[in-house]
């Protein structure tokens, strides 16, 4: 039995004429301990997909199964890392993480909770900023807090909705490594949504392209057969990596072209020519 399973899932927003089907006929199986990356264009329904798995949205058709049971709402077992960090701006780092820990471990004593918060903040190297408000942190630091908030609840699955897409390349690299090392330590199941093919190959076991919506469906999956731990500097000269990147990129370009073909219409333009009564040069008649 798969850990997470999506069976013929369809989801649309709006009603009547404005109804837009975002996802249609999605089938996906994720096994325990796997790291899956879903790659796709922006606006293809990636966020909707992850919201369905997290339990923030529910499918119109089909079902989302978690450990064989249908998902009925958000749960501590599936930690979600948001694209825009979603830290509460009126709480310090300590309280942002603390709120999650307190909610997860209701029976714990105060100092035990406090220690856990400090441990997890320390794990992402933010001990010095623990009493700061989010506004005093950089984008990378904020996302670290967001990551550690999700992990501090010790979820079985980490769902990541383009967590690194708003960060600069260098911060992105370090955070990728941090997430990988955390994943590696506990062997959690992870689902990463990204628009960066390199990121997907570097981090995941399997890569599944999402064909762009409306009516987005999952494309054929690409298995990443690279040894872990992967070294970024060596990847660029690795033949398997290059081949894989080329084939995924080609696939994405191909479906991108298909989409733009489907979208563009032929317009019959009227065959007219402008009638020039007088010649005008720089505002004066000549």
């Amino acid at each position: 039995m798969a850990y997470i399973e999506l069976k013929n899932v369809s989801k649309s927003y709006g009603t009547g004429k404005d109804r837009v089907e975002i996802l249609s006929n999605i089938n996906l199986k994720i096994e325990e301990g796997e790291f899956i990356a879903i790659v796709g264009f922006s606006g293809s329904g990636k966020t909707t997909l992850i919201k369905l798995i997290a339990g923030l949205e529910f499918p119109d058709e089909g079902e989302v199964l978690y450990k064989g049971e249908p998902v009925t709402g958000p749960s501590h077992e599936r930690g979600l890392i948001f694209q825009n960090y979603s830290l509460l701006p009126w709480l310090t780092v300590r309280n942002n993480v603390g709120m999650a820990v307190k909610e997860r471990f209701k029976s714990w004593a105060k100092d035990k909770l406090k220690k856990r918060v400090e441990d997890y903040v320390g794990m992402v190297g933010l001990s010095h900023a623990i009493n700061k408000l989010p506004k005093a942190l950089s984008g990378g630091m904020r996302q670290r807090v967001s990551v550690t908030r999700a992990l501090s609840m010790s979820p079985d699955v980490i769902l990541m909705d383009e967590p690194l897409s708003a960060l600069d390349a260098l911060t992105r690299g370090t955070l990728q490594d941090e997430i990988l090392s955390i994943w590696n330590k506990d062997k959690k199941t992870a689902l990463l949504i990204t628009n960066d093919v390199d990121e997907g190959i570097y981090m995941a076991d399997r890569i599944i392209p999402l064909r762009p919506g409306p009516n987005a469906t999952l494309g054929p999956e690409f298995a990443v057969e690279l040894q872990r731990p992967r070294v970024k500097t060596e990847l660029n000269s690795n033949d398997t990596f290059k081949k894989l990147r080329n084939s995924i990129t080609n696939y994405l370009i191909q479906i991108g072209e298909e989409r733009s073909k489907g979208l563009s219409k032929e317009y019959n333009l009227p065959d007219i020519k402008p009638v020039l009564r007088t010649k005008v040069f720089q505002g004066t008649r000549v």
Partner: protein, 361 residues
């Protein structure tokens, strides 16, 4: 030290003195001197011009009224009448009641303070005199004798501030919880919307009359200060709308991201309201409260005037009815006191708002 002073100034909303502090510390004289000119010097010039204009205008109005009196005297009683009238104006027997000049207002203000000192002294003497009697009366189970003389201007300012404070508390206690309920439930919101839209623009005077009708009946057997009760309730009801509307808006438009966080963390309904919705609505609620304080202070004068509660409104109205030589000057002095207190109240609210609300950036 310098940074501390600047932070305090900024916090109490007097940030425009910042260049002066920096200049005193000898920091970047050229830049700070320009800033000082812009933020302090020019405002002072404009205030000065205002006083000059006021003085010129007041003198002109005074002359218009004086000339009219003399002309009337000439027409009815001839040249002898003119002399007589001039003497009467000189002695203050015939009042030229027009816009007072700044100096007259300043004198009136000083007189008001002097008057306050005299009344305070009288009050103190009275309290000392009746102290023994009061002890006896207390032992006999009777009420103590209290000073019942005329209140001074400062006493009236205190009464007004107390009325506004009570009115503000009433507005807070009514508007914030109701606003939260309305913000949380769309059904409640749409069912109350009509009532709110109709009551919001009602004039303070009408609110006063409405409160008067109700409170008068409810306090038939109460022999305390009913005028005060009516005043503060009317002030609260007039001023609460800004807070009510802002709280409703703040609570009903919480960022969807925060709601998602609450869902993912599996917060209970109560926790969602108090840990997510309320804090995120705080900036808007406080903006509403700040408007409420301003409105409360503004409507207070009219309401006190009607209710005869012994505050600034009553003071202004009594002086107007009085029509003594310095009545107009006293009214203008009261006007400045009202304005300055209003400004200070707004600054206080501004500081509290800064203290308790978050900014995203």
């Amino acid at each position: 030290m310098k940074d501390k002073i600047i932070n305090v100034l900024r916090f109490i909303g007097l940030g425009f003195f910042e260049p002066a502090v920096r200049l005193a510390a000898g920091e970047d004289p050229k830049k700070n001197l320009t800033a000082l000119f812009q933020k302090v010097f020019f405002p002072i010039i404009s205030i000065f011009l205002f006083f000059v204009l006021w003085n010129v205008g007041a003198t002109k109005l005074y002359n218009v009224e004086k000339d009219y009196k003399i002309d009337t005297a000439r027409e009815t009683r001839g040249e002898a009448g003119v002399k007589e009238e001039l003497a009467r104006i000189e002695s203050g027997e015939s009042t030229v009641n027009s816009l007072p000049a700044p100096s007259a207002v300043w004198d009136a203000f000083k007189n008001l303070l002097k008057d306050h000192k005299e009344i305070s002294a009288k009050k103190k003497a009275f309290t000392e005199r009746v102290a023994k009697t009061n002890e006896k009366r207390e032992a006999q189970g009777l009420d103590a004798i209290t000073y019942t003389g005329r209140p001074s201007f400062v006493d009236q300012v205190k009464t007004s501030l107390w009325t506004v404070f009570c009115g503000f508390l009433l507005a807070l206690v009514l508007a914030v919880p109701i606003g939260m309920l309305l913000g949380l439930s769309e059904t409640l919101r749409s069912s109350m919307n009509w009532l709110i839209q109709i009551f919001k623009p009602v004039s303070p005077v009408v609110w006063f009359l409405l409160v008067y009708m109700i409170v008068k009946t409810l306090t038939l057997t109460y022999d305390g200060d009913v005028s005060f009760i009516i005043s503060f309730i009317a002030v609260g009801l007039c001023a609460m709308w800004a807070t009510l509307v802002n709280t409703t808006l703040g609570v009903s438009t919480v960022d969807n991201d925060y709601i998602n966080v609450a869902k993912v963390l599996n917060l209970s309904v109560g926790q969602k309201v108090f840990k997510i919705v309320l804090p995120s609505a705080f900036p808007l609620i406080f903006t509403g409260l700040r408007i409420t304080v301003s409105v409360a202070w503004m409507v207070l004068i009219a309401i006190e005037l009607l209710s005869q509660s012994p505050g600034l409104g009553t003071f202004v109205w009594e002086e107007f009815q009085n029509g003594a030589n310095d009545s107009n000057a006293k009214i203008i002095a009261a006007m400045f006191v009202i304005g300055i207190i209003g400004f200070m109240l707004d600054r206080i609210m501004f500081s509290i708002q800064k203290l308790v609300t978050f900014t995203d950036q």
